[in-house]
Symmetry: C2
Subunit: 350 residues, 2 copies
């Protein structure tokens, strides 16, 4: 029965009849220092007996290390962030660190959050998974003496990052549609000024060009990265006189929104319109029809960034610059061959 009050290293040392420092040596994987086997046993026994648990705070004060990583995430509702967190948490744990999470509301104009996270000496390093390309963020980051890695985008004046190859992902998605015979393809883009938004748009265009498609075969509508954004963008798209036969959505959530609108309008997927999205998660399989996606290694991004950050902290690296390629196309049921003739001018075959 452990005592009601937490036992300290001093208690252990006393119980084992050794000096404080000896107990400390035994309980840490002493480096270089050798301790007699008998002594070590006594200390270990005492620690077990007293249910000793090192006080992380005291250790942190002494070593200026907390073995805690801060992670700032916006929008926990977007499945991409939980996925990143899962990856980060696993990698952190593997390296002996914990994760302090901070949900940064997007509306949080004060950015006090970043400062709070960055300022205090409670974390050894920072993972920043923001959606914004804010200079504000870069500034806040600049004031911290702790290493950090920015997730999912590169920021001006910020060195360390872990990103997806968004260009390649969009190219892959678009090429898939092209290979199915689609010629009029629209892009539900992310934020047109955002890091990933611009790159996915560029990849989309590059694929069209590579297939020799004329410029007017393309249609781009910003949809942001939310379900609602997808709804709004798709509604607008349907107002066009000529409908595309294929859609490349920059995000899975936007694709889901688009599909909702298509269902509402009675547009058959993929009969009349195919849709492919970038990013993959269980949700893609819940949609109807199940959504074809280009899979992004989201957990791996969180994990790689975390490993890089820990390397930074432990002086094993001086910079982190990670770019992860897409993991390939996950073929589901939302894409199919291009429908026969163009709906506008009925012709040869039904």
């Amino acid at each position: 029965m452990p005592p009601s009050t937490e036992s300290t290293l001093a208690d252990v040392a006393q119980a084992a009849g050794v000096a404080l420092s000896t107990a400390s040596r035994v309980l840490n994987g002493e480096r270089g220092h050798r301790v007699a086997a008998a002594t070590r046993e006594r200390v270990l026994a005492a620690a077990r007996e007293l249910d000793y648990r090192p006080n992380a705070i005291a250790r942190g004060l002494r070593t200026a290390r907390t073995f805690t990583l801060g992670i700032a995430v916006p929008q926990l509702e977007n499945p991409v962030f939980p996925q990143m967190i899962v990856g980060a948490e696993a990698a952190a744990r593997e390296r002996g660190y914990s994760l302090l999470i901070s949900h940064v509301a997007e509306s949080d104009t004060e950015s006090r959050t970043y400062e709070r996270l960055a300022s205090v000496s409670r974390v050894d390093g920072l993972l920043v998974a923001t959606l914004e390309d804010e200079t504000r963020l870069a500034q806040a980051l600049a004031t911290t003496s702790r290493p950090y890695v920015v997730l999912n985008r590169k920021l001006r004046g910020v060195d360390n990052h872990a990103v997806f190859d968004s260009f390649a992902a969009a190219e892959m998605a678009t090429a898939h549609l092209i290979s199915l015979g689609h010629r009029r393809i629209a892009h539900l883009a992310g934020r047109l000024k955002g890091y990933n938004g611009t790159r996915r748009l560029a990849g989309f265009r590059a694929a069209l060009r590579a297939a020799g498609l004329p410029r007017d075969a393309e249609r781009v509508i910003p949809a942001g990265y939310t379900f609602e954004g997808g709804v709004i963008a798709m509604r607008e798209l349907l107002r066009d006189p000529v409908r595309p036969t294929g859609i490349v959505a920059a995000t899975m959530l936007a694709a889901a929104g688009a599909m909702k609108v298509l269902h509402g309008e009675g547009v058959a997927i993929p009969g009349e319109m195919s849709i492919v999205a970038i990013h993959d998660a269980t949700i893609a399989d819940m949609l109807y029809p199940p959504l074809t996606t280009v899979r992004l290694p989201v957990q791996e991004l969180g994990a790689s960034a975390t490993r890089g950050l820990v390397d930074l902290i432990e002086g094993k690296a001086t910079g982190v610059a990670i770019t992860l390629p897409p993991q390939g196309l996950v073929l589901r049921a939302s894409t199919g061959p291009v429908p026969g003739p163009a709906p506008k001018r009925p012709s040869r075959r039904a």
Copy 2:
């Protein structure tokens, strides 16, 4: 320009020409202690000048308070947990606390995680959002001297909890189907031994009884709380010679899995089968057809539990026992009137 090295309270005191303790008094909202206005100004100015940020670790060591709450979550993929976290984070921040997150893998048989979380003095209290009704967990909790609140279930021998009224939620969902004329109703249950699983099943049965339906009008299949669980359960259900016309799913994810199977089998929703689920999230609106749900105040659960925990920590409460009622039915398109005659024995009216 702040110095490259973090400045300490001693630096501030020196710069202001006062004693360390005086600086401390100024910088904390000194209690009872009065400081001369002039002194206070000087200290404040010095702190600003030096970009002083209190060292949370040192403070924590001294006060034995970290203003950090630990939260253990399994399965971040299930949208219910991110939602809880968002609520918890907001409430924590409101009270001046941060959230230390720990992803507890379900397979983690060692339960070292709980101990890790519970043991160290890095958190002032613990939020536990586990899926398991483990005695293991109760044991781990028992060894910590920190207050804790268990989310989403009551555990034997564990006092503090915040739960949903699962019984009422299931009753509400079932009553909805009954009011639409459904008589043969199946229940995709949660875990039959789980806290919520048993209560939702009980609510389901109570509603049937209240409507005077015979016992054989009911069919119960455990589906767990995952998409895959829903798929498997629904497949099994469809093997029955007599199909139900309505389904009450204990979780949204299971409902999504069930819908996938129904689509695959060409069963019209709600034309041939209606489905209602407990729990609501954006996903419900992404499904096709959009899923009717009984909304649960998930964020609020996280927030209430957190407030309760902080009260516990700060001695403002001696126990936390929160039960949150469902927020009502969110009528979408997956439920509708019962289809004509029963397929097995056609009778009186169409």
